[in-house]
Amino acid sequence: MRPVAVAAFAQTTHTDHDTGLSEPELILPVIQAVRAQSGLREFGFTCSGSCDYLAGAPFSFVSALDALGAWPPIQESHVEMDAAFALYEAWVRLQHGDVDSALVYGFGKSSLGDLREIMTLQLDPYYLAPLGLDQLSYAGLQGSAVKSDVAAIARRSWESARSNEYALKLPEPVETAPITDGAAAIVLVAGDLLQERTDLAYINGIAHRIDPHYPGMRNLARSASAAAAATAAGVGKGHVDVAELHVQFAHEETILVDALGLGAGTDINPSGGPLAANPVMATGLIRIGEAARRVMDGTAARAVAHATSGPCLQQNLVAVLSRES
């Protein structure tokens, strides 16, 4: 595949409440930050991830274009998924060879509604949603299927987050990712733009897979799709220094560490992970950003990022990043 690297990453200082900023106002600073970091003003391709149901109105992504100042008109697309999947679309687009840069961003304000109940609307509307299971009950179902030291995972995440200026300042460890408002952006580069910097985080492999929707069709103690994505991305080809995992419930870390084949030598969620800040629709992208940041600043030689979508880790994306193309 054509080499592609992360050249810039920015995130908001996340909040646990609505600060009154509109979505474009939330996005604008992170777009400006990645423009400054990358030295690029315009991009060959732009892709974003967001969810209408968080705002409770259609086309929540439309006004985001105002924050970009998309003029003259830009090559742009959007996924109704976590922005990590938008990054995947941008990575694919960069494989064509005709454009060398891409802007990816995601945003979400889950403070506006009842996220736990909103997530119920993601279930099969005929057979699952009417059962009234909210996101917590669903996660609880999976949590009871796996042996996990959730208290230890929560504590470690909470302690790690103390050195993360962007994370929430939670008074105590939590096993459930907190309600968070926030946004993040990443710039990808390829071709000649790779020659301009030596500190880029190359994407050595990236892949995603989905599992069946119905919990009864899956072994909830395992994640077949995460394991398949990790194999396709090449996680096992070398030592992993750092892994940023999209863990919205502490027990998911145990399932993911197993699925990705991560060993004791891997530092899991040094940022504190989603248990310290979970701006829905940007959380997965932030995992890629946090992993890339550690490769770029030299604290990790090889890092893995993971993003998820759907109930009980139904869909999983895995990326491997390093200094080597």
Partner: protein
């Protein structure tokens, strides 16, 4: 644009007001199975699935790809959900094609759908973000002022919209999948229907449809059956609130067309293309898009329509399938345009086939006429 990509299978459901006999999963699966059958393949031959639809509020299912993965044979594969407003069907095809053009996969299933009977799209479109006000009701309320501005600028006579409404519905009579079948439709019938949003009358607007459309896209080495080759694909977006934006002929549409024409070697679209499937949800958008897409000069679009140039027997047929005016499962409407363009150059459009069609345009737009997606497909390998 990377590796070659071809359409090797097309599947559509019949478009209708209410598909009470199937669930959403049943609806998308019906289109997917027909596309696979057309390509002579099964779900096992598919590497990845891309699904598109318009706002989730239309059915009340959030991020429905999670639920629809099983029905589309996606388990164990990558699945992507695209949402770019009304242009989403076109964008879905382009995102699917991108996976092949980028050399990532050999066969991709793209599906788009809407089951409008699950809710009321006009009201789903009329809610707004917190702390903002909405001044319009539904899409017609938004677009009618732009149409009035077009009429003022171009001096188009008031009956041109009705001509498009009649032409597309006559074409629909030849398309077995079309939703609206109105035998005997004529200008007098259209002009006798109620005014919804001045100057858009009831029969000058698109219906609310349930339906799904699917395509199997393939790399060159994995082609089966009759391919329609992708000669170019492009997307463009512009901000909705930019001051000075031309909402009648948006720059994003002009730029998107220029990009796709350059890729496909089209210099004069009216001459170089044989047929166009263009997103015309309100009758007047035919003359407006004729100009925006460069089929004629500025303020000349209505003259082509009036002269019958865009009719099935005209020199450049537009919407031989009956178009969005005859079938509108919103999220799928763009993909249907792209798929109908492919059917034409494969020679498989049936009764609404344009004789000898070798090169065709598929077009979709969305949002406040600010998101555009287009592709050109051809019978010959590019």
């Amino acid at each position: 644009m990377g590796h070659r990509c071809a359409v090797i299978g097309v599947g559509q459901t019949h478009y209708t007001t209410r598909r009470r006999d199937v669930s959403m999963a049943g609806l998308v699966r019906e289109a997917a199975l027909r596309a696979l059958e057309d390509a002579g393949l099964t779900f096992a031959d598919i590497d990845a699935v891309v699904i598109g639809k318009a706002p989730d509020l239309f059915e009340g299912v959030m991020m429905p790809e999670a639920y629809l993965a099983d029905a589309l044979g996606a388990a164990g594969k990558p699945m992507t959900r695209v949402h770019t407003a009304g242009s989403v069907g076109g964008s879905t095809a382009l995102v699917g094609a991108s996976l092949i053009q980028g050399g990532v996969h050999d066969r991709v299933l793209v599906v788009a759908y809407e089951k409008q009977s699950e809710s009321n799209a006009t009201w789903a479109l009329s809610t707004h973000l917190p702390f903002t006000s909405s001044l319009v009701v539904g899409a017609g309320g938004y677009f009618a002022p732009h149409i009035r501005d077009y009429m003022r600028r171009s001096g188009a006579p008031g009956h041109v919209g009705a001509l498009v409404a009649v032409k597309d519905r006559l074409n629909a009579l030849k398309n077995p999948y079309a939703h609206l079948k109105i035998p005997g439709i004529d200008r007098a019938m259209v002009e006798s229907t109620p005014m919804l949003w001045e100057p858009i009358r009831y029969l000058e607007t698109c219906p609310s449809s349930d339906g799904a459309c699917a395509m199997v896209l393939s790399s060159e080495r994995a082609v089966t059956g009759t391919p329609a080759w992708v000669h170019g694909g492009a997307m463009r977006s512009e901000p909705i609130f930019r001051a000075g934006r031309d909402t009648v002929s948006p720059q994003a549409g002009i730029d998107c067309a220029a990009d796709v024409y350059r890729q496909a070697g089209v210099t004069d679209p009216r001459r170089d293309l044989d047929v166009a499937e263009v997103y015309v949800p309100f009758s007047w958008y035919e003359p407006m898009w004729l100009e925006n897409l460069g089929f004629c000069g500025v303020n000349e679009g209505w003259k082509l329509t009036e002269a019958g140039a865009t009719a099935l027997d005209g020199d450049i047929p537009w919407n031989a399938s009956g178009g969005v005016l005859s079938s509108n499962p919103i999220g799928a409407s763009g993909l249907i345009r792209f798929a109908e363009a492919a059917l034409q150059v494969r020679g498989m459009a049936g009764e609404h086939q344009v004789d000898g069609a070798r090169k065709a345009l598929g077009h979709a737009y969305g949002g406040g006429a600010q998101f555009f997606a287009m592709w050109i497909v051809g019978a010959e390998k590019p």
